[in-house]
């Protein structure tokens, strides 16, 4: 028997008013898998990601993450979200707190750790992203790449079962992208299940288990990176891959 997928989304629809953004998306993600979601802007990939932890409320469909029915009104959504880390394009660090403060807030308020225990776990998480020496800096004193790594630390400190990355390097200067990808690669090596929406095709090629191509609210094609990038079967995939590889 195949093991239960960690993420199991079925027939997910999302309407924003008259706009039909997701038109019945199915996505399964297995444990320790890194799934890369690509597609033109407006294809619904970010919306899909945001539906997975219910930052966006799907209009219909079902989403089960780590055995928890995310759309069941009886589900304690705050409890469920602890197990789903999310990293945003614009970092969204809390500007009034230090790096350590950012990482420990949910540890204390949600996971119920004491301050000392939260600090210990928080420092360990910062260590993992290579920023142990920046624990007492505020976001304003950190570079974009460092801020994004703190944001990753903020999520992994809670020991999530799956991590969602929403264009994590799109807001970064090119020379800062590498440090963030490096952290993502080491996360992957530690066995983290990851769903990544990104345009970093090089990273997708050598780190992803599977690439999912979305267009117009639907998954058009998916498969191993080599297959999607070298021998796409769908015209739309071919056109998109051709466009991004010209740059």
């Amino acid at each position: 028997m195949k093991p239960q997928p960690i993420v199991d989304a079925r027939a997910v629809h999302k309407h924003f008013g008259a706009l039909h953004v997701l038109k019945g998306v199915d996505l399964k993600v297995a444990e320790r898998e890194l799934v890369f979601v690509i597609g033109p802007s407006g294809s619904g990939k970010s919306t899909l990601l945001r539906c997975l932890n219910r930052l966006e409320e799907p209009s219909s469909g079902s989403i089960v993450v780590d055995g928890i029915d995310m759309l069941d009104p009886r589900t304690d959504i705050n409890h469920a979200r602890q197990r789903i880390g999310m990293v945003f394009q614009s970092f969204n660090l809390y500007p009034h707190m230090t790096a350590l403060g950012n990482v420990t807030l949910a540890l204390r308020k949600v996971a119920g750790k004491s301050r000392a225990e939260a600090d210990r776990l928080g420092r360990a998480a910062l260590e993992r992203v290579g920023l142990a020496d920046r624990a007492d800096h505020t976001p304003g004193q950190l570079s974009g790449g460092q801020q994004q790594r703190v944001a990753i630390a903020r999520s992994i400190a809670l020991e999530p079962r799956v991590m969602l990355f929403d264009e994590p390097t799109s807001a970064l200067d090119p020379e800062l992208v590498g440090s963030v990808l490096e952290v993502m690669r080491s996360l992957r090596e530690s066995g983290m299940t990851m769903v990544v929406v990104s345009h970093e095709m090089g990273f997708a090629r050598n780190a992803a288990d599977r690439v999912v191509f979305m267009d117009d609210g639907l998954i058009v094609e998916q498969g191993p990176p080599a297959a999607i990038f070298e021998t796409p079967t769908q015209d739309r995939t071919r056109a998109f891959i051709g466009q991004i590889q010209r740059h």
């Binding site: 602890q82 809390y94 949600v110 996971a111 944001a151």
Partner: protein, 226 residues
Amino acid sequence: MTTWDRFVDTFFNGKVMLKYLPDILWGVVVTIELAVLIVLSGLAAGLALALLRSLAIRPLNWLIIFIVDLFRSLPPLVIIVLMYFGLPYAEVSPSGFVSTWLSLAFVLMAFSEEIFWAGITSVHKGQWEASRSTGLSFGQTLMNVVLPQALRLTIPPLTNRTIAITKGTALGTVVAVSEILGAASSAMSNSYNPSPLMMGAAAYLVLFLPVVILARRLERRFAWKK
């Protein structure tokens, strides 16, 4: 007598000043009491309304907006007079002190609610999302993430408004509260000499200058470190 001597005799008459000094000092005490009460209750109520408003319950928000707009449009003097002379017809007779306190507290509540609300809404949506995505509840996010940021933004407009409304304690004169201005003007009519008014002016300066300076330092302290 030179012109200067006559000026001093009129506006800074030592004998008159000495005689009415205790009255003015009492006025200072009353003004401080009023000011502290107005600031504490007005800001607390304003913040409470802004927090209620963030729950986004439609009918409740309409009510809040109506109350806030009402108290922002009415001149404070009108509210004080209505409360002092009008409420007795409803079998409630607040003293002049209570009327002044509550009226100005309502006005400060209304203005500060708008300022707090503007602060809350100006915090970027991504802050909510980041916090909620780590499992913090709506209330925890509001208190730990959004409000601390919102309050920093609100400090400059809030201090200005607070000082302006607190000076409105002088309106208490109309309903026989002997705060600084009240004490000074009755001393002035008793002594046929405006020296007490000068003492009152000095008292306002002594009271409010430190507040204004403190406000400026607060603003600097809470400016973003970029």
